[in-house]
Symmetry: C2
Subunit: 595 residues, 2 copies
């Protein structure tokens, strides 16, 4: 049996090239993102974005620092820098000579590395505590070796060697995990080998008749997007991490993309997959549109977080590139109005590809990220502001914004736009133009760099997310904000915390909610630990308020201690026994996360 299903249509396109990363796309090891991009403070004390990759790039953000000072109630000084100690001391590798000798049989020298900084990088994702640790703290354990398989056969052989020589394997994709899933277990006595999958990044075939593609699991989102687009297709899966995260990572974390209203979440998009497990390869002869074939092991891979095996390829659904893509935005007088709109919209047949509602603070943050304007642009912007505040009578301290992406046929998009405008009006919403909508989405990728920038100025910030039934959405957000404010005050932490929420994904029965929480930590002992403590308190409040443990980030090591509060002991025991049965030697010993 072949280990990846063949395309069904005989004229499928074969796309044999493996993507080799361009030097210009080199990624930072110590902070988020590409090396060519970072936030900085210029000579005048203004924030600016270096590089030319994003819309924000090259911009002077004159309002940002004043707004941050104002919001946090702290006089942040541009010259008072919290100096990064990166790279901190890197633990020496735990040796496993037998394994190292064995893998030389099928891996070239350039497919193996012991490099310290790379090992450090492969031992973490992007949580605040991980990023804080590699710059200001310490790590007790990192992977001892990194391997770069290029074929499924090599992955299979790696697993055989791991079993034979008592090694633990950790699959690694884009390194964008935010649940401490990549963090190595300190207690692990075995050598830990990071299996970096990004060289397995080919689109094996595109079946344009049946609208499917078979893609290797190490393919990075942005490459998948570009390669498919060249043939007129898209997967439609756009998580905020799409520049770096991989198909395999999406499956392992049960990812959600911003356009899921149109294209579905990852579990809706993947028809089939091939997985290398502790006892061989899970594979199928054909990917079916839908079927009933007994206990379906493929479904178990969504959210498996590296514990059950390594996904090596998947057959995914394709969509033709949309005829039309339009942005839109609406302003609502209050968050409550906006939520009412979101809930009703979710039950209509006219849900745009993406709809997001930010609260007032996040709306203000978006304004603060606007570059210094001049000339007519200032005039227009002032006029708009006057209209919203004085003619419409919106309260600048309460109003909120909703941004939208429409994708589809011309007719479909026109119909959705009409329906959205009409429904918006019912909730006192005011159309605020496509440009504001477009900008909101463009910010997504550039803004990801701000967290590491702010850390240089003693500000720690992070996002966490949940999903909740519609009736819980507003109370949950209110409860979490209140709880964090109370706990912040009780601890007498500096200034005021930054707490903001947005509703990012719509479902008929509820929504996904994204929180940002940050604070100024100069003078605070163990700020990263204090953050984590507060985040855990927020999570307890989320669960108490009916929210889920995670909408799409996952469990990892960060949230596994909450599992007993959301499911029965039997459910937990069941998960553990499935793991024990399918990986008795715990080869994929990444810490029993999600189990």
């Amino acid at each position: 049996m072949s280990t990846t299903p063949a395309p069904r249509a005989s004229d499928a396109i074969i796309v044999p090239e493996r993507i080799t990363p361009k030097p210009a796309d080199a990624e930072s090891l110590d902070v988020w993102g590409f090396q060519d991009t970072r936030f900085a403070i210029d000579g005048d004390g203004n924030a600016e974005v270096l590089g030319n990759r994003y819309e924000l790039s090259g911009q002077k953000l004159t309002r940002l620092m004043p707004w941050i000072r104002d919001t946090l109630g702290i006089d942040i000084s541009a010259s008072d820098v919290f100096r990064s100690q990166y790279p901190i001391a890197i633990p020496p590798p735990v040796a496993n000579a037998g394994f190292c000798t064995a893998i030389r049989d099928f891996l070239r020298e350039d497919q193996v590395t012991l490099d310290g900084e790379l090992r450090l990088r492969h031992g973490h994702g992007q949580t605040q505590e991980e990023m804080f640790a590699i710059k200001y703290g310490s790590v007790a354990r990192v992977p001892d070796l990194i391997v770069y398989p290029e074929t499924q056969e090599q992955v299979e052989k790696l697993v055989v060697c791991a079993e034979a020589h008592g090694v633990s394997l950790v699959p690694y994709g884009g390194g964008t995990n935010v649940t401490d899933a990549l963090r190595c277990d300190e207690e692990e006595p075995r050598a830990i080998v990071s299996v970096e999958m990004r060289r397995m990044n080919r689109i094996l075939w595109i079946d344009r008749v049946n609208l499917t593609a078979c893609i290797e699991a190490g393919a990075v989102g942005r490459d998948i997007q570009a390669q498919l687009a060249a043939y007129g297709f898209t997967m439609g899966h756009e998580p905020d991490s799409i520049e770096f995260s991989t198909l395999g990572g999406w499956i392992a974390t049960n990812a959600s993309g911003m356009k899921k209203n149109k294209y579905g979440n990852i579990e809706d998009l993947v028809l089939d997959m091939t997985v290398v497990t502790a006892n061989g390869v899970l594979s199928r002869t054909a990917a079916s549109p839908r079927e009933s074939v007994g206990l379906d092991w493929r479904r178990m891979m969504f959210g498996s977080e590296g514990t059950l095996g390594i996904v090596t390829s998947a057959v995914v659904k394709l969509f033709p590139l949309p005829e039309v893509q339009e942005y839109g935005s609406l302003l609502f007088p209050t968050f409550e109005d906006g939520c009412g709109f979101m809930q009703e919209l979710a039950r209509t047949p006219s849900v745009p590809a993406s709809v997001r509602l930010v609260d007032n603070l996040q709306f203000q943050f978006g304004q603060a990220l606007k570059p210094a304007s001049t000339g007519w642009k200032v005039y227009k912007s002032r006029l708009e502001k006057f209209f919203v505040l004085n003619v419409k009578g919106f309260d600048a301290g309460k109003m909120v914004a909703c941004t939208l992406v429409f994708e589809g046929t011309r007719e479909e998009v026109a119909q959705q736009q009409k329906a959205v405008t009409a429904l918006g009006a019912k909730y006192k919403g005011m159309a605020a133009g496509s440009e504001n909508g477009r900008r909101g989405y463009q910010l997504t990728y550039g803004i990801a760099y701000i967290r590491d920038f702010l850390m240089n100025y003693y500000i720690i910030a992070e996002s966490f997310e949940t999903s909740a039934a519609w009736s819980d959405v507003l109370p949950l957000i209110r409860n979490v904000k209140k709880k964090l404010e109370e706990e912040y005050a009780r601890r007498k932490l500096p200034g005021a915390p930054f707490i903001t929420a947005r509703v990012t994904q719509l479902y008929r029965t509820g929504a996904a909610i994204y929180f940002y929480f940050g604070f100024y930590f100069k003078g605070v002992a163990n700020p990263s630990h204090v953050y984590l403590e507060l985040e855990n308190i927020a999570r307890e409040e989320i669960l108490r308020s009916g929210g889920s443990l995670s909408h799409h980030h996952g469990v990892g090591k960060l949230r596994r201690h909450f599992l007993p509060s959301i499911m029965s002991d039997t459910a937990l025991a069941w998960k553990r026994s499935v793991k024990a049965a399918t990986d008795p030697k715990n080869i994929f010993g990444v810490g029993n996360q999600g189990l």
Copy 2:
């Protein structure tokens, strides 16, 4: 931890009544369906449908018998009846005194039965070989005892007793299974206890804000439908077996309803479930709209076919009853034209709730089921026929029909109707009115009785289904028909076989295909076995042609021998090890189907 999640909205409707089946709805034990309905042949040799439950009921079907004679090429005589021997000899129960004594602690006398005919009934579903066996053959093994739990606690206690006393439990819902899943394993030395779930049929709550309901797993489809409709809601799940099948059965077989284009398949509709397993209860605190919480045991229940535990309740999505429901139909000159239409329609944003395309033979069959008409109706029908054949120039031996159900808002339905008509025209389709569409769907339930009727006249017939990528749909249907015709001729079986296909479910990447196959068997030794042999040959051809093992019927004992040809050995071993790990004593020992 409570074992079923609470509603999230505080004003949820509590629907405490348990449904008690009405005497008028008594079900037959020896044939499909309600006792009040059956096909018969009247004094004039015409087929008629007795009872008054369905649209067909009370009708004289003057064309049916002539059409069947013509199609099968056999002069079937109304007086030559293949007499049913029902009930055949019923195997005596295997006793387990310890278990019987133990369950008396928590079950009343009326919750336990040893009745022979009921035990016979609980030992089979609705495959032709099972129905043939209970009337003309023999069964080696049936359940030894039937229990009727009324609460989850009772189910839990049953499992504890089963483990303590070495008993095998088989969950039983509507008894409509078509994969031999209920057929008892002849080799099973333990007492087999059928756990009839239909007394656990309450809707525990309806959350009208969040559009969810918590429903006990033994609730029958038609009751769920009626109870929800009383509050203005629907689940939208309408498998052809909805009159008898249960929520728990839908989950266990990974069911698909005819309106899945609008509402989704069962895996899309169930948000959460509670399952009694060999080692306790799998349950959650809240049903989330969508989440990422590690290996999700709930996903493993879809298609588990009774092997992993007993689903006792589930939280499902609700939809408001549609503002508008409309039927439609289209005629196409050929099946190829119709398939082209279906494939293109599947990729539009305007897919109606249900779309079915029948081939020419099935179209003719629908005409043959039309009652004798008189007066204006005859005139109109002749005029229509003249128009289609002479004005449009369709070939009566090639034309096919597509039936549609539209559900949604007035605007949505109007838009879909417009789009369907326009797309139909592109494929030479001709709108054939809502009445023909309505009739096509109404036939679904009445026609289910015909199989057992025809068996009385030496005709054996059965359906089987698959799903396939679009490029495989036409070749697969052609190959299967050809293969069956060849094999039929090669065996020198009587007259001509009846082989027909329809495309019943649309997906962007492919479709579900439903076959009916039947033949006249007088003079054929072991006709049921011959049928099974031919069905297996058809299945081999389906797999060779790219089809799946099953779209929604499942694997059961009927198709488990095909599993090695669709997945790797490791995949099979994995499934078995999950079973062994979660049910080490094989309490749910229904025969390792789907494993």
